[in-house]
């Protein structure tokens, strides 16, 4: 999917390619086809292509408000009490290697509740927390 999009008015004149100050546009003529090419990493999103296009074919809004791309999906550890998403197992391992083992997976709120319970009722805190009694 490209963020540089043209509508049906594009006639392949290459004005955009010739005027792109970032050399982010190129084309390839092969057999019976002309392909317009765009390199997002080079694109300065300056709008010059959009300005010079004699056909008003460039839909620049897609370069201004794009969509989100999924980059990676990791497993997730949740708070044992409320189920709030916390962190990935790899992140937990990394933190635990630098700090004292944090023990249970708890969100900030329930970590506070857990700590308070342990202070008040050292023996019962764990049992209460497991039963979901906040």
């Amino acid at each position: 999917m490209t963020y540089f999009r043209v509508n049906e008015k594009c006639n392949g004149c290459l004005a955009c390619v010739e005027n792109c100050p970032a050399a982010a546009l190129d084309f390839a003529d092969q057999n019976d086809g002309r392909t317009l090419k765009h390199n997002m990493t080079k694109c300065a999103r300056c709008g010059q292509c959009w300005r010079v296009c004699p056909q008003a074919a460039i839909e620049f809004q897609h370069l201004l408000v794009g969509q989100w791309d999924n980059v990676i999906t990791l497993d997730l550890i949740h708070c044992r009490v409320c189920g709030e998403p916390l962190y990935s197992p790899a992140y937990r391992q990394e933190v635990e290697s630098k700090l004292n083992p944090s023990g249970e997976a708890l969100c900030p709120k329930h970590r506070q509740t857990d700590a308070a319970s342990k202070l008040l009722h050292p023996g019962q805190a764990r049992a209460k927390l497991k039963s979901g009694d906040q």
Partner: protein
């Protein structure tokens, strides 16, 4: 890149308090990178400005937006929506962006939320330092890539002053002496002889002393551009 800093909140409140509906508009370029005027900062500022405690009169209504570059008038006019009822725009762009919006949306008032501070670069995450004064007659080739105009407190041209102590500038704040850095760099480059070269006087006209600076490129626009500048 252009670095900017948010104005004091009281100053911003004072500027917007008489409007009914304000569009808080971030800019997606330089000021986004230096964490002062991007979409995130526009949202934060809007939330803060929406606190009743800042106003004695009625609370203005706030809308938030952001566009890639506020300094591109035609792009702004084409793609930035101004919500109905907006009676002022609070811009988080640099001075160039604010003025471009003011031209584009005239007579809608465009209020600057930032002070545009300098042309700089990030030496390390979270720190930006002034590097360039935009003087239009670059001498970095002679000074080991370190600009004495921007980085020496006195913009000295021929070496450090008597206030250079232990490699630091007398103005304090831990600012390195630019000329100490220049000499050290030239030594490393085996180009210390550059330091002794007699150069012609610097031309300050391109630095703004010749009036409004303008750069015209031929071959773009409506064909009326001619190779003319007033600063070379």
């Amino acid at each position: 890149m252009i670095v900017g800093d948010l104005k004091p909140l009281e100053e911003i409140v004072s500027a917007i308090k008489d409007y009914k509906q304000v569009l808080v508009l971030g800019c997606g370029s330089c000021v986004t990178v230096c964490l002062s005027g991007g979409e995130r900062e526009a949202e934060q500022l809007s939330r803060e400005l929406a606190q009743m405690r800042h106003y004695q009169g009625p609370l203005p209504k706030f809308e938030v937006g952001s566009i890639l570059r506020q300094c591109e008038k035609d792009l702004v006019l084409e793609y930035q929506n101004i919500p109905a009822g907006t009676d002022a725009v609070l811009s988080l762009a640099c001075g160039a962006g604010v003025q471009t919006l003011a031209d584009a949306y005239e007579p809608l008032p465009v209020i600057p939320a930032l002070n545009t501070t300098f042309l700089g670069a990030s030496d390390k995450p979270g720190t930006w330092t002034e590097k360039c004064k935009g003087c239009g007659d670059c001498i970095l080739i002679h000074t080991g890539g370190i600009c004495p105009i921007a980085r020496c407190a006195k913009s000295l041209f021929n070496g450090p002053c008597g206030g250079s102590k232990g490699g630091y500038c007398e103005v304090g704040y831990g600012i390195p002496c630019a000329w100490t850095q220049i000499v050290a760099r030239l030594k490393k480059m085996d180009k210390l002889h550059c330091y002794e070269e007699i150069r012609t006087t610097k031309n300050w006209k391109p630095g703004g002393a010749g009036g409004l600076r303008r750069r015209v490129r031929t071959g773009l626009g409506d064909g009326s551009n001619k190779n003319q500048t007033n600063n070379s």
